[in-house]
């Protein structure tokens, strides 16, 4: 102990900080900067399972931009991310609003509402695959019992329904996160504001529109950005639900990259597709980082 004390006295506080964060820096360099560098370099190479490996400029990019499948994947990913974000937003907001109104037993109810977050996305895909299954699932049966439909919905053979099914399964896992995020925003609003509004004769709609919404706007917005960013790149649910089908209706960018790696075994085009995905998400993210740092 005394030895380490002497040693510590020698280095200044700022140097001590550098020493402390050194392992983190090492990990960042080894696991982030190096692979990202490799990604950019490989995207300009002719790199398949057959030699030679050589520089071919932008030809990989040209290939994927001329690939019809890439555009299909991009379109599907956009629809998918937008759909999941929408469902997550609505679900998260509704549950957060209700939770904020409840006082007795709120801890227990909060735990319950968080449960889906703990379910792996792949498993969520399986669960919803069973629920939506037209032959054995309870979803069609439930709607038929309510008299809304006359025969089971063919969720996985209809392109649009398959997409909606995947969106629901994905959003289900993400709603709790959005919910706690919104709730954190709701709880930062001082109650005096509501009391004052009440005295002025405002009802709950007025309060929502003029107090709740403006004050939680930033929190909700960040939550939405995160959700859309994360949905833009997942394939877990789709992998266990539809595997990109039917007729590539749920074929997303992640699948496109995996196809480059597995089916075509072309590291060059795979990297190029990776770079494009990275740049697309960076444009979302720049906005997000800007919002975080604006606060500080």
């Amino acid at each position: 102990m005394t030895c380490s004390k002497k040693k510590n006295m020698k280095v200044s506080n700022s140097k001590y900080g550098v020493i402390l964060s050194f392992p983190g820096l090492l990990i960042i360099i080894a696991l982030v900067i190096f692979p990202v560098g490799t990604l950019f370099v490989t995207s300009f190479l002719r790199y398949t399972s057959f030699p030679p490996i050589r520089f071919i400029g932008f030809r990989n990019y040209l290939y994927i931009f001329n690939d019809r499948l890439f555009w299909v994947a991009l379109k599907n990913t956009t629809v998918y991310a937008a759909g999941v974000t929408f469902f997550t937003f609505v679900g998260g907001l509704v549950i957060a609003l209700l939770l904020s109104k409840v006082s007795k037993g709120s801890g227990f109810l909060r735990s319950l509402s968080m449960f889906p977050w703990a379910v792996p996305l792949v498993i969520s895909g399986f669960i919803w695959k069973w629920i939506f299954n037209p032959n054995v699932g309870i979803f069609s049966d439930f709607l038929m019992k309510l008299g809304l439909i006359s025969k089971p919905l063919p969720v996985f053979s209809d392109p649009n329904l398959a997409m909606i099914g995947c969106i629901v399964a994905d959003a289900w896992v993400r709603i709790p996160f959005m919910c706690i995020f919104t709730l954190a925003g709701l709880e930062s609003i001082p109650t005096e504001l509501y009391d004052a509004a009440r005295v002025d004769g405002a009802d709950c709609f007025d309060c929502f529109r003029h107090i709740t919404l403006p004050l939680t706007k930033r929190m909700i917005f960040i939550g939405l950005l995160i959700t859309s960013m994360f949905t833009f790149r997942t394939i877990d649910v789709i992998f266990s639900m539809t595997e990109g089908g039917p007729a590539r209706a749920t074929y997303v960018l992640g699948y496109y990259i995996i196809d480059q790696l597995w089916t075509r075994v072309n590291f060059g085009t795979g990297s190029a597709a990776g770079v494009v995905t990275l740049l697309l998400i960076l444009s979302f993210a720049g906005f997000y980082v800007y919002l975080i740092f604006k606060k500080e």
Binding site: P35, L39, K101, V119, F239, F267
Partner: protein
């Protein structure tokens, strides 16, 4: 004509206002919130509930139409099958090894990094912090190919080490970000007085800061464990044998080309979701705090 229209319009407005009053009155009762919340939560949790029920059905019952909501003759057949006649226990063990390994490395490195970034700022520590956040933004899927190339170089494809490294890449920046959130609000006087009393800086950190913020640290550890446990993409690409594949990949064992064994899938789903559900029941508050402090994961 126009007066008739405006009168009608006025009537309509009055009607809307009175309807709005009624709805507002109903919505403002506390009991309404409870009822609505219970209905919404029922629908949110019904996938888990009915999966749990399905795991107790016989296989014949899972193929019935119309489907049953509750098992008629509850059995443990599916669990027996999953535990004794399938590779699932092996996958669960793999998941456990990978998750514990990742959590250990991430926490060990993350604690010091976060503390350094939070308490001992230096020239350029802001840039380092920005680097950490931007790491989270890189989509894991776009790094599939470079990681594949790098892992093949080192001959690490299909090993625990490979998955632990990749999961460290996924979790480390966020763990640092969340831990920094906890250390930022730590009372500085406490550290200073410990140092005045003759404690070294490292000693103050290990003896004072870590024990006091133990709950927050535990929350971050739990979150790291769960993310690693739930991770699928890298596990699927970088492993190909049962000896290494974690449970998220192994669950596909019950999905055949033509037949899906729904009862076994349901039992697998229960096993896979259990760690998360247990952690949540115990440490919900701490986890929520950690997530909102980090606020970077969807």
């Amino acid at each position: 004509m126009s007066t008739l229209f405006s009168r009608r319009n006025k009537k309509l407005k009055l009607k809307i206002r009175s309807i709005r009053k009624v709805i507002a009155f109903v919505l403002e009762r506390p009991i309404t919130s409870y009822i609505l919340l219970i209905v919404v939560l029922f629908f949110m949790l019904s996938p888990i509930i009915f999966t749990a029920f399905t795991s107790f059905k016989t296989r014949a019952e899972t193929f019935q139409w119309p489907p049953t909501y509750f098992p008629h003759k509850p059995t443990l057949q599916a669990y027996e099958e999953v535990i004794f006649r399938s590779p699932l226990p092996r996958h669960l063990l793999n998941s456990l090894i990978i998750s514990l390994g990742t959590t250990g490395i991430v926490m060990l490195g993350g604690l010091f990094t976060a503390y350094g970034l939070s308490q001992y700022q230096y020239k350029g520590s802001g840039v380092v912090l920005l680097l950490f956040i931007s790491t989270r933004i890189i989509p894991p899927i776009s790094l599939l190919v470079p990681f594949y190339i790098i892992m093949s170089w080192f001959g690490l494809i299909n090993t625990y080490t490979c998955l632990i490294i990749l999961n460290t890449f996924l979790c480390y920046p966020l763990a640092v970000w969340m831990l920094k959130g906890f250390f930022d609000v730590f009372p500085k006087d406490l550290i200073d007085s410990a140092i005045v009393d003759g404690c070294s800086r490292t000693g103050a950190f290990l003896k004072i800061v870590v024990p006091v913020s133990a709950i927050g640290i535990a929350a971050v550890a739990i979150i790291t464990f769960l993310w690693t446990w739930n991770e699928f993409l890298y596990a699927m690409i970088f492993t190909n044998t049962r000896n290494v594949q974690p449970v998220t990949v192994g669950a596909h064992y019950f999905v055949g080309d033509e037949l899906v064994q729904w009862d076994s899938i349901a039992a697998t789903a229960m096993f896979t979701a259990v760690p998360g559900l247990i952690f949540f029941s115990i440490a919900q508050k701490a986890i929520v705090k950690g997530l909102t402090a980090g606020a970077v994961k969807g």
